[in-house]
Amino acid sequence: MPDIALEGISVSKKFRKGESFDSLRDLIPALVGRSWKKAIGAQLQKKEFWALKDVCFEVKRGEALGVIGHNGAGKSTLLKLLSGIMKPTQGTISVRGKLSALIEVGAGFHPDLTGRENIYLNGVILGMTRDEVARKFDEIVEFSGLQEFLDMPVKRYSSGMYARLGFAVAAHVDPDILLVDEVLSVGDWAYQSKCSEKMKELIKGGATVVFISHNLRAVASLCQKCILLEHGTVVKNGPAEEVISAYLVSSAAGSAGENSNGISIVDMVAQKSGKNECKFAAGDRIVLSIRVRSEIDCNNVAVHLYTYDSNFYNVFQTSTEFLRSTPLSFFAGEVKTFSFELSLHLGCGIYYCGAVVRSVFHGGLEQFDRKFPGLTLYIDAPGEVNGPSNLYPRLLDIASVRASEPSGARAAQDTIKEDSALCGRI
C-alpha cells in the first residue's frame, strides 16, 4: 500500500468579498446600523464566494504533483490550506511528514540585516534548527554564489541576488513534503535552471513535491501527475501531459469556432501515404491538412502551422505567408483545405501541432481562429538521437594524442586515426 503523504478530501474554502470592517471606527456604526435592519441575512450570503469547492486529491510519497489553472482558479488558496496558514471551511486535509512551503522567495528577510544574518533568520523561519543552518551554511553560500556580498545589508542587494539567496536557503531545508508556488518565475535563466535541478534532486531524494506554476514546461518536466483547477474545482486529474493539454485546449480562444470572427479551423489531419495516422517514424514524409471554413469574404489571410514538443517548447513554425507569394482569400461559405508536406526530422517523443488563422494586415495582428492542440503526433526514432531535433550525426573519426612524449613532432606522429564505428542515418 503506497504511502500517502498528502491528502485532501472534499476541501472547500469560502471567502467574503465586499465590505469588511477593518477598523473600529467602521465596525461600530455598522453594527449599530445592522441592529436596525433585520433582513440582511440573504444579502450577506451573496457576498461570499467559494474559492475552492469539493477538491479531492492524493499525493503519494516521492511523487510530484503539478497544480495548474487560470488566474483565480484557486491554486494559491489550495497551497495555503495545505501549508496550514488557513483552515478549510469544509473538508479535511491530512499531511504526513515535515512540510515546507516556498510561497515567496526570501520570506522573512529583513532588509537591515546582512546576508549572513538573514541566512540564519530565514533558515530558522523555514523550519531548520540553528545547528542545521550552521552545518549547511557553506553549501548555501556556494549555491547562491554570493560569497563576497554576505556582509552587506540585504536591502542593497539587487533583486536577482535577493532571489538567489532566498532560494539557496529554501533549497537546503530538506523537507519531506515541499510546496512550491511560482518561485521559479523570478530570476534569470541560470537561476531558473539551477532551481529546476535542485527540485529534481529533491524529488529523486524521495521528497514529495506539490508544484504550482504557470510555466507549463517546468510542470511538464518535473511532475508526473497534475491537477487542473478551474474556478475552484478540479476539472482534470491525471498524468501531467494529458492535464496540460486539457488546460491548453481550454485556454485556446476560439476553439470550435467561438470568437473566430468568421473564419474557423475545422480540423487538422496527418496522412502518410494517403492514410490518416498519428504514429510516425522519424524522417517520414507526411501530409498535414488543415481545413478552414469561412463565413465571410476575406482577403489577405494567412494560415500558420506550429509544433510544440512535450515540454511545450516551440520546435517548428511555418505559414502560408512564407510558402506562398500571394496571400489567401476566402469567400463566404467556402471551406479550404491546406495541405502541408512535412518531413518529420524530429527526435522520439510526443508533439502537439496547432494552427492559427490570421490576417496579414499590419503585421497580422488580427487573429481569426486558433486551434491548439489540433493534432498530436507520436514519433518513434532510433536510439542514437534524443531531443526534438535530429541533426543526423555521423561519427567520422577519433583523433588521439598520447601525453607520454614531450616533443611536439613526436606527438604529431603519434596521432592515431580510428575509423568510425557508427554511421548516422540519413
Partner: protein, 261 residues
Amino acid sequence: MLQHFKTLYHYRQLLAMIAWRDIKVKYKQSLMGFMWAILMPLIVLSAGIVVRIVLSRFSGQPFSLSQLLTVATKAAPWAFCVNGIRFATNSLVGNGNLVTKLNFPKEIFPIAAVLSNLFDFLIAACLLTLIFAFSRVGLSNDILWVPVLIVALVLLVTGLGILLSALNLFFRDVKYLVETVLTFAIFFTPVLYDAQMFGRWANLLLLNPIAPVLEGLSSCVVIHQPPAAGPILYSTAISFGIFIFSYWAFKNVEPKFAENI
C-alpha cells in the same frame, strides 16, 4: 491549551530568532546604539524630577535623594511596559508577510516584541544598579522580590500584547487607541508620584495592575521594605488571568489571520 504551549516550546528557536532580529534591527544603523535603551527611562526620570520639584515646592517639604531614586526605579519598568505593549500591538501587522506565508504559532511575534523590550529594560537596569551603587542606598534581602515582580510584570505585558496584537490585526485603529492610552497612562499610574500621596484613595490607584508592581519594586530597592502583600497578590492574579485569557482568545482567532490581515 497545554498543546499550544508545547507547540510554542517546539518553536522556541524561532522565537529566539525573531526576538534577536527585533533587537538587532533596533540597534543597527542607529546613532546612539545602546543609549536607546536608556533614553526613555532617563526622560521619565527627568519628568519625575520636575514633578517632585513642583510637589516639594507645593508641600513645603524638600525632596530627598530617596524620592528621586524611587522615580528612577519605577521609570525603567514603566518604559518597558509602554514599549512592550506598543511594539507588541504592531507586531502582527508589521510582520504581515510572514503571517500570510508561513505556518508557525503567531504569538511568537508579540512575545518576541516584549522580549526585545525586556532586553532594553535589562540594560536600563544595569545603569540603575550603577546609580544605586554610587548613591550608597544599600542592599537588603528584599531585593529577592525583584525577579518575582519582574516576572509578574512580563506576564501582564505579554498578555496585553498578545490580545492587542490580535485586535489590531482585525481592527487597524486599535493601535491609535493604544497609543493614546499609553501616553496618558503615566498620569494614572504611580510612576512620577507615590500611591501613598493619595492617602485614602491609594487603593483606587492600586487597582491598576501595574501599580502594585511598580510600588513593590521601589519599596524593595529603595526603602528596603517588602512589598505590600495584598495588592501584589491581586496584581499577580490579574496578570495571570489576563495572560491566560489573551492566549486562549488569540489561539481561537489565529486561523483567521491570513485572510484578514
